[in-house]
Structures are given as C-alpha cells and as structure tokens.
C-alpha cells in the first residue's frame, strides 16, 4: 500500500509528522507572542 509520491503509508505519515511539528512550533510561538512579551505561555513551563 502506497501513498504520498509512492512511499509506503507509514513512511509518508512519519514524514508528515516531521513537517507538522515545525508548524505546531510556529503556532505556539504566535500564541506566546500574542499573549505577551514572547515568553512561553502555553504547552510549556516558565
């Protein structure tokens, strides 16, 4: 069973995770930025 450019499903999902994690990191940064001075405010510990 293949997907995403012919790669096996498991590999495609793994690569997708590697792409999504930086995007999530960016969204968390945007939340931190909007809530104050940029310090970690969500999903973290100050």
């Amino acid at each position: 069973m293949t997907s995403l450019g012919g790669l096996p499903v498991g590999t495609a999902v793994a690569i997708l995770v590697m792409v999504v994690v930086p995007i999530v990191t960016y969204l968390l940064y945007r939340i931190d930025h909007q809530r104050g001075d940029g310090r970690v405010t969500v999903l973290g510990k100050r």
Binding site: A14, V21, P22, R39, V40, K45
Partner: protein
Amino acid sequence: MSEAQLQATFGLFVVVLLSIGLYFFFTTETKRLSDYMLADRDVGTVPIAISEVTAVASGWTFFAWVGIGFTVGMSGLWFSITMVLIVLFLYRFVAPRFRRTSEALGSQTVVDHLASTFDDHRLGPVIRLVGTVTIVVFLMSYIGAQIIAIGEAMDVGLGIPYTTAILIGGLAVAFYTTLGGFNASVTAHLLMGSLVIVAAILVPIGMVLEIGGWSAFVSEASAVDPALLTMTGGDAGTALLIAVLSWVTFAAGAIGQPHGLMRFQAIRSERIISRASVIAVAFQSLRLTVPLIMGAAGRVLYDGADVHHENVAMHAIIDIFPSWLAGLLLAGIIGAILSTSDSMMIVTSADVTRFYEEHLNPDATERELILFGRGVVLAAALIGIALAYVRPGTIFDIIEFAFVGLGASLGMPLAAVVIWEKTTAEGVFATIIVGLLGSVGNLYLFADYFPILVWPVAIATLVLVSVATYDGRGQYADERTVPTD
C-alpha cells in the same frame, strides 16, 4: 573535476574560520570566564537557534545518518520523530527556567548547573567530580568521532590523506575555538549552519534527479531493497519492537547534549526562547529527514560500488555537482562537523576549568582561568585527533554511545532539576553514576539491546532515590535558584 579547485574552496573556508577566531581574540574584551564560555549570555535568536542545532548536527547528519539511510533506510525516521519532539519539549519546558536559574546561579554548563544547584549539599562537590568525569569520557569519544568524520570528508572529498586531514581539521577547530571561545563558536556556527541548510536541500535534490526523478527513485530504491523505504525496515514481531525501541531510546539522548543545552544558558533573554524554537525545530526536522533520503538514493546510485556507506554523501557531491559548488557544499558539511567539535571542546573546557577553579586552585584569577580553559580546548583537540587516528569504531557507533550516555547521565538529571522540584542531590548523583556505568555496561554486556536497557534503569534510579531522600524541601526551597521574572 579539479581536486585543486575543491581544495582551494575549502582552504578559503578554513581561512574564514581562523579569521573568526582571530577577530574575537583581538576585538572582544574577554576578561571573565563567562565571556569566553557563554559570550556574556548575550546571544540573539537566530545565532542561538542555528548554533544549537549545528552544535549537535555533527558528523552524523551527512555521514552516520546518510549511512543509516543507505543500510536500513527510512525506518530511521523513528529516531527523527522522537528527537524532534524532545527538542520541542526542551525549548518549551526546560529552556526558560534553565536560562533563568543558570544566570541566578552563575552556572556555565550542565555539570556546573547540577553542582551549583546543590552547592550547599555535601554531594555538591562530588556531583561536579563525577559529572566532569562523565563529560570527559563521553565528549572525548564524541570529539574523536567528529574528527574521524572530518578526516573522511577531507580524504574522500578533497583528496587529502586521512592522517593529514585529521591533523588539519582537528587543529583548525582547536585554533579558532581556543582564540575566540564561545563567541567564535556561535559566529562560525551561523556560517556553517547556513551552508548545512543549503547542502541539506541541494544534495538530496541532486541525487534524486541523478536517478531520474522522484518516481524513479522510489521504484529503484524499492527494487534494490523492498524494505528500504518502509518504517519496518523489513522487521516484524519482536525484532521490529526491539528495532523501534532502539531508535526511540537512542533519540532520547537528545534530552541532554551538554554542548546544545549550553546555548540555553547563553541566550540573551527568556523572551526569545519561543521564537528561537521555531528555527531550531524546523532545522532539526530538515536535517533529521533529508539524510535518510540521501542514503536511500545513494543505495540506488552506489549499490555494489566500492563506497563506504557513511561516505555516500561525499561521493555524490563530487560526482553530481560542479567543482565550485561541490567545494562549497563540502565546506558546509565539514563545517557542521567542526562546529560540533568546537562546541564539545568548549563544554569540556568549561567543566574541567570549573573543577580546577573549585577544587584545585580556588585563588586562580580570571585571566589564569581563561588561559587554563584555552589549554583544555587544545588538549581536547589533541586527544580527539589521537582517537581519530586509532579509530575505535564507526562514526555511528561512537556517536550512539556518547549521545545516549550524555543524555542518560547528565541530560535527564538536568531536566529533572529544572522541572521536578523533588529532585534531590542523592538522586542526581546516583543517576550520573548509573548513566555512566549503565551506558558502558549496556553496550558491552548486552550489545543487542543497546541503548534500550540504560534508560529504564537510569529513570528508576532518579525517581526512586529522589523520592527516598526527599525531605520536603526541594532544591528550590530557598528561592535562590528560581528568581522571579
């Protein structure tokens, strides 16, 4: 392709590196040890993020990790996913408080932080001693692996004999680090990190195009080895479980690479940690995914050829790209290795110097300490060169041993000290010992299960000993180590 052109491009790169060291030696007023070791805790977002990744990117990105892509294929992504999640965890859960408490304590490294946290405890000095021994054991191995990679890269890529190459590479990095300290290290990382990003994008594209495009790559890689592009690596049942656990526990070492964590202590402000995490996580994702594709593509291009699996990227760069670009890409790759080496030398130097200051010569002046620190950097480079000459294992083998050992013995106690207030000096001390001996024991007595066994033992030690010795007053009880914002 002209070997002379390649050597000229790389030679220019080495000159730039040495100039960076000289620049900071002559222009920076390095009067205090913290100026030399942590650039006076004033490093900005981009340099700190790029430097944090480049500090650990090392020979494994373009050598060991490409070799894994070549031999076992994309199943290495189990490692990549685990590591990138740990990096995110470090930035959001560990870095803010670590930065703050590090400044309050005046700590300069992970070992220094652990020892300083328990400064008033009878085990404080012992934690510094065993921590420093642990740093020397694992980081010297790690530096040796980096210099092997430097030798391979210059040998294969530039035609410089291996022995000459390890001498040139080892001494060049020692020279600019000795002179410029952390400032030179971070600046050089910015340059090298940028080249690594360029290489990480161009090289796999060039290799896949050389095969005939993405579809050709997928079909030919699957034809060479049907398991190469799968997440199982061809394993099933218990073998698959052990393989996945091996990758995940290997990646767990990311929690405590002292040369990377040191960047959190040097960052200008806690307010830029979240922003820096975006760059660092994106860079990590790129450099942990792309080399596996390069390795798999290399399997198609070089299957059956007389090419060592860890040198595939070097051969591909020379075979595919024009010489000026190949020279630049090789400089980036060798630069990544140099940058890891300089970070490790700085950490080793900082810890040995702090030990010297605390226990051997408490009256030493700042000038004497800086001089001593520079001497340790040079000694670390020479030992690394000697190890590279002996070559005790493959680059991957040595990196795996050191990476896991550092994470289990130092990284986990540091994370615990920062986020779990019931962590005790006894728990930290026991975990460093168990992490050090457990890593060696797991490797030599149960090699088939390395590094799966060391983690549960180290975690159990940390939790059980801390709970058993916790007296209701955590290390943060006096607020000294956790200043308010």
